[in-house]
Amino acid sequence: MTNHNWQFQTEQSLVENHGLKLDEFEKIVEGLGREPNLTELGIFSAMWNEHCSYKSSKFWLKKLPTSGERVVQGPGENAGVIDIDDGDVAVFKMESHNHPSFLEPYQGAATGVGGILRDVFTMGARPVANLNALRFGEPEHPKTKHLLSGVVSGIGGYGNCIGVPTVGGEVNFHPSYNGNILVNAMTVGIAKKDKIFYSAAAGIGNPVVYVGSKTGRDGIHGATMASAEFDDDSEEKKPTVQVGDPFTEKLLLEACLELMKEEAIIAIQDMGAAGLTSSSIEMASKGDVGLEIDLSKVPMRAQNMSAYELMLSESQERMLMVLDPSKEEMARDIFKKWDLEFEVIGKVTDTKRLILIMNGKEEASIPINILVEDAPEYQRDYIVEEPSPIKEYKSEDFDQNNILKDLNTMIMHPDLSSRKWIWEQYDHMVMADTVVRPGSDAAVVRVHGTNKGLAMSTDCSPVYCKHNPYEGGKHAVVETWRNIIASGALPIAITDCMNFGNPEKPEIMGQFVECIRGMGDACSKLNYPVVSGNVSLYNETNGEGIYPTPAIGGVGLIKDLSNVKTLSLKEDGNFLCVVGKTANHLGSSKYISIIQSKEEGGTPEINLDTELRNGNFVMDAINQKLIASAHDVGEGGILVAISEMCMSGNLGIIIEIETNFPHGYFFAEDQSRYLIEVSPNNYDECQKLSNNNDVHFEKIGIVGGDKISIKNIGDQHISALKRSFETGIKQISQ
């Protein structure tokens, strides 16, 4: 694609190889008043790519609700911050590492975890939990086994070594990810509210300090790679993937937290995507100052590195800080103790420019505002496609004799089966504060030294999003809200990781716009704001986009750990009850996809008023100590949810409820529902509470025995179900 009107001295192909469009290059020339040199071109390329600039998404992200009484810091910093009482805050964010993980699953996933951990401890928080949201291609695809094993061991390899428990996550398998898996990693940390660190550089003349690992030639142009589509030659991009060193990150974490106890750090920013470039520009821009950096002082791992390479390397485990000059020696001693690099590489200036010097020669001089405020922003064209129609299913179309057989098949499927094979490879107990381990609705981690805890959950149903992006966006938010409620916590806020295809295609942009609209409506209604997030676009291979996947990570607070609930059935004789109406919505359900191998019938709709009422009822009932266990009814419907409760508690149930459409009742995915176990003594009280709050509440059966028995249908041993449940994911790995 040669443009015959190219009037610049810079080669057009060089500009294109840097992922910049012609009009974007013109904008650079206009801003600088001259053509950029190679180093400057590299810097613009790194700052203006989709990954760093959010140029296609910014306009829409602004529409999400981001404030609330517990929000201390919303989007725009390294991570979001929420108030969790007693002067404590939780700091969290989720981020994608999709493209690198597809090219090199172990290192891609590992450095994804490393990056998000740094985002959190940069703010002064000690990371206390890792979660993830993973999507792979169909189980039988030849690459799935390799990618699944690689990603899982990469996540474990990094988290286990640094000593932060990986306590939760979600995983799906779908052909739309055959050529582009998704690896989204989330970290939650805890800090003191008056000890949060930000990235705005300040104090003209203050030293700019580089700490952590040395800089090598790894990961150059990683962020640009992450902003392009894949094709059959994508394997050649492997050298752009970084290599993680969790041991060094552990040292960096401890050294930073040790220094943060002193009044020494004025600003701090981790070097993530686009390394030294984005960290220095971010700090200067936030502080409305300039920075002058002498690149010859950057600790280097390789010889003869150029200014261009130093600025674009994505070597891991590095940080940039502005220090109080009087504390420089003390800070140096701390990093020396931890055997880490510590080098003053520059100073804060009043020029409002990024000036780079190397061996006495000026290599770049760019006004910060051109790089940041003047970065391109697009309102891309979009088309909102009609949602898939909702199909009414009828009892006659199903054979009720197959209910238990179908259940067995469903819980064996990798989308519904036990995730134990995955989470047993993660140290989910280090730090000794894990209260609810993986496998329940939400993981619960105690705030160290207190009797309160954080509940955390990640969720998204891409099939719902594909067939109705608005309802799918709502669902992703609401699903984490329900999981957090079912664990006994008050949901507070979310982080989002927006994974989509190519935004230059109007129908993909339409999915993005609609998902955002759905998420925004749910967040507003539930008082559950977005405090941080990340966007990953161009998730396409050979022109085929992934399903829209707005992965949500929710965080809630449990003020008293004695209110923690798990999904395990607790006691013989208790009643199992369902909260929320079942209306036989089988469309887009796991039943239809697993048993009928179809994807049809439309996405279930969520009435947010009902959602709020039902959720508040469950929260009230838990706080009034009326409930023995709780579980949200999600993918697979009521019978799958009941089975999960039985298997986890090693207890059976006699299901007494009578229905004229068993498949509809047991497998429908109507929304806003929970299962709760109530002792006979508390049943009347629960019923009264539900009536007072206009909440649909019905008894389904009685806990007991070692079987699931359904009146007029049959029974199934829990031990047999368990065998099926344990096979699904394990089978892929063998």
Partner: protein, 223 residues
């Protein structure tokens, strides 16, 4: 009780074990940085779990050459109780205080889950109180191996501290999580004052952990 917890770069269970000891004994252990060269008078030295030096070389090999280890070995030989947990067990083997080797799990993957152990030797300072106990393991290299001569010595001198077992205390392949020889989960030195074990008692030492069986090991040392 005066206790010490050694901190290597990459240790990550140092705080957890210190919290458990504090909760059980009432006394705060002293944290000892690996670059130090001596430990003051001590009733218990703990070498905690983690990934010392990243374990990029054989697990525990680098840590065993840290300055502080010379004094740990000296104190162990003088009879001070020394407890190595997980990576700490690996370090004690690399330091020559315990026999055998810890190889990669036979599944070739990291394993984090609850297991059951029972104490074989019930006379050591660490094992007096433990019958069948539940606690988590979390390791990639916990597959205990010894040569037949070493194993014979370990058995003859009653040095097997813990074996993986089932609910009824039966020791068999079904209850062996990682391929360890003789289901060995922990061993003692000949004098029975040094214990290395793969399971994490500090992670089963508090009601919030859902199980408090791990306390018995610390209580045994205290009494």
């Amino acid at each position: 009780m005066k206790s010490h917890v050694i901190v290597f770069p990459g240790s990550n269970c140092d705080r957890d074990v210190a919290v458990a000891i504090k909760n059980i004994s009432g006394d705060q252990p002293q944290m000892v940085w690996h670059k130090e060269t001596s430990i003051s008078q001590s009733d218990l030295i703990v070498v905690p779990g983690g990934f010392s030096y990243g374990d990029y070389l054989r697990c525990g090999a680098m840590a065993s050459t840290s300055p502080i280890m010379q004094d740990v070995v000296k104190k162990a030989k003088e009879g001070v109780p020394v407890l190595g947990i997980c990576n700490g067990f690996q370090i004690l083997i690399e330091s020559g205080l315990l026999d055998g080797a810890l190889m990669r799990n036979n599944s070739l993957s990291f394993i984090c889950r609850d297991i059951l152990i029972k104490s074989k030797n019930q006379s050591s300072v660490f094992t007096k109180k433990t019958q069948v106990a539940k606690m988590p393991i979390a390791h990639n290299e916990g597959n205990f191996f010894a040569t037949s001569e070493q194993l014979k010595r370990i058995q003859d001198d009653d040095q097997i501290a813990f074996q993986y077992c089932d609910e009824n205390g039966n020791v068999g392949c079904q209850s062996n999580p990682n391929g360890s020889l003789e289901n060995i989960a922990g061993i003692l030195n000949k004098n029975k004052n040094v214990l290395g074990m793969m399971p994490h008692p500090e992670r089963a030492a508090d009601l919030a952990h859902g199980c408090e069986d791990g306390k018995t090991i610390f209580e045994s040392i205290l009494n």
